[in-house]
């Protein structure tokens, strides 16, 4: 059974004034998240990520289509005992201290007093906030709120954790902490579904990725698959012992040649001419130093014009 299954989901926002056109936030979105994986939900601002997450959490109803969480329809109240949620730029009760805040969410999850006490301390340490437990949230920075927000999502040890832009607004140290927490959740067998528009974060920790554009999934699969699928990737060949940019055959094959003294960096558009290039280098008495294939980036999926639907 999938942790999340979304099938042909649509959400149309009706205009607040007559005469204005409705906004189609989700346009037949379909995706599935397997149990125990980290799934990155990648898309630019306004692509429909938050709307999808709100529907999954029962905060919003879909216009049509189906969304299931842990085998139950999205919004099923009892299923939420197994789900943790951190919204984008979280807003919390600022009059509470971090400890009171986590206790409150522990109580709402139905945890015992003893369990809450131990989980609060444990989680404050995990998110690096043990020093600020007695401070009111109104004194917290955005990064601190993000981290304490992640702690509230985990207070009841959920099977599925849904995070909306969990790394936004964090400094590099904070981002690493959140990444480590997400990776440790996978090690515990939990499922993590998180949305982001920060590509390196997704590339670094996700097992699978779904790319959403204008309310539709335009690419879905394992990160390495997506980065290589259907595209040619450049190869960088480093060699020394001869001047490569004077050899016409090499100049023809390469997209670029950088020459520094007797050291050359030859950039080939794809792997088809690698063997021939290495042969030429050897024929001219050159020495091969390295051959580095350059993978594509998930960013290509954002910017490739064929993916931009109108």
């Amino acid at each position: 059974m999938d942790a999340i299954r979304i099938d042909n989901l649509r959400k149309e926002f009706k205009p607040s004034w007559p005469g204005r056109t409705p906004v189609q936030a989700l346009d037949g979105l379909t995706l599935s998240v397997e149990r125990g994986e980290i799934y990155g939900f990648l898309g630019p601002n306004g692509s429909g990520k938050t709307t999808t997450l709100k529907i999954l959490m029962g905060l919003m109803t879909a216009s049509s289509g189906r969304a299931e969480v842990l085998g139950h329809p999205a919004g099923h109240v009892e299923t939420r005992r197994q789900v943790g949620f951190l919204p984008e730029s979280p807003y919390f009760y600022t009059y509470l201290t971090a400890q009171e805040f986590l206790q409150f969410y522990g109580q709402l999850a139905g945890l015992s007093r003893a369990k809450i006490a131990s989980r609060v301390q444990e989680l404050l340490e995990i998110v690096g906030m043990q020093h600020a437990g007695a401070r009111q949230l109104r004194t917290f920075s955005k990064g601190m709120l993000q981290r304490v927000g992640l702690a509230q999502a985990l207070i009841h040890d959920p099977q599925l954790v849904v995070l909306d832009e969990p790394m936004s607004g964090l400094d590099p140290v904070g981002r690493k902490q959140i990444r480590d927490v997400i990776l440790s959740l996978r090690d515990q067998g939990k499922t993590v579904f998180f949305s982001s528009h920060i590509i390196p974060d997704v590339e670094m920790i996700c097992d699978r990725v779904g790319v959403i554009l204008k309310g539709r999934i335009v690419a879905e699969g394992r990160v390495d698959e997506l980065m290589t699928r259907g595209r040619n990737h450049s190869i960088e060949i480093m060699c020394e012992g001869f001047v490569s940019d004077r050899i016409p055959e090499l100049r023809e094959m390469a997209t670029r040649i950088l020459q520094q003294g007797l050291r050359s960096l030859i950039v080939l558009p794809d792997s088809t001419s690698v063997d021939k290039t290495i042969g030429i280098i050897r024929d001219h008495g050159g020495r091969l130093i390295s051959v580095i294939p350059h993978k594509g980036s998930l960013e290509d999926l954002f910017v490739t014009p064929t993916n931009q639907r109108d």
Binding site: K54, M57, G58, L59, M60, T61, V77, E78, R80, R81, V83, F85, L86, P87, P90, Y91, F92, Y93, Y95, L96, E100, F104, Y105, Q107, L108, A109, G110, G149, Q152, A153
Partner: protein, 255 residues
């Protein structure tokens, strides 16, 4: 079910306690009661009547003000500040949230009114005024009125902004105290549209004057137990209907 309502109610109560506006209003009430003592010294006749009247009026005004100004933000502020997202992502039914919020504010209001009553009674004792039983009847119905006004404010706050909720609640409060006049206008007017509007307002808005016995209570004239019960029952039923309405509207909302 009760657990969830209790958790939300206690958190709302804690929010109210840490909200400075509440202390300001309470301070204002205490100052008003004290001022009545001062005012009584400046008059030659019916000094005790002034203290009794002003004290009841202060308890009523402050209770209603807290009810309106905290009640209008009870739900709408949760939506505007997006704190609702993480709450509703918990195993909590939407109507449990509404009941919890209302119960928390009702607890705050009861404690506020109790404190004001104690200060009021102390003021009366110090000034040598008579402690009529009718004063307790009046404060009881003030409490019911405050609960009803709070329910009106919360009802509006489930589907509109805090500002609009405040305007509509204050409108209902004013009309609620003028219902007999509206009825009078409806009977006398020849204009059918005005008659229809007045009748609609008369039947839609609660008759808050039923809960107002301050004038007679200050003179030591109480109401019968059956009147007190019927008036309180009317106010509480009206409030319950508004809370049910708030739950129904909130159930269908997108956040």
């Amino acid at each position: 079910m009760m657990w969830n309502i209790g958790v939300i109610a206690i958190n709302t109560f804690r929010e109210n306690l840490r909200d400075k506006i509440l202390y300001n209003l309470l301070f204002f009430a205490l100052a008003l009661i004290s001022a009545s003592l001062l005012l009584a010294h400046m008059t030659f006749v019916e000094q005790h009547r002034i203290i009794t009247d002003m004290g009841l009026a202060a308890i009523n005004a402050i209770g209603v003000l807290i009810g309106i100004f905290v009640g209008i933000g009870l739900v709408s502020r949760e939506i505007e500040r997006r704190t609702i997202y993480t709450i509703m992502a918990r195993p909590l039914k939407r109507w449990e949230f509404i009941l919890g919020k209302y119960a928390g504010l009702a607890l705050t209001l009861s404690i506020n009114i109790l404190i004001m009553l104690v200060v009021y009674l102390a003021t009366l004792v110090v000034s040598g005024a008579t402690l009529y039983l009718s004063l307790f009847q009046a404060v009881g119905l003030i409490f019911v009125e405050v609960l009803l006004v709070t329910a009106i404010a919360m009802f509006f706050s489930t589907f509109t902004s805090s500002t609009l909720s405040a305007i509509m609640t204050i409108g209902c409060y004013v009309i609620g105290h003028l219902t007999s006049d509206l009825r009078g206008v409806a009977v006398k007017t020849q204009n059918e549209a005005v008659k229809g509007l007045m009748n609609a307002l008369y039947y839609l808005c609660p008759n808050l004057d039923l809960l107002n016995i301050k004038g007679q209570a200050a003179s030591g004239v109480g109401v019968s137990i059956s009147y007190e019960m019927l008036a309180a029952g009317y106010g509480l039923l009206y409030a319950a209907a508004l809370i049910v309405g708030a739950c129904v509207i909130f159930e269908r909302r997108d956040f």
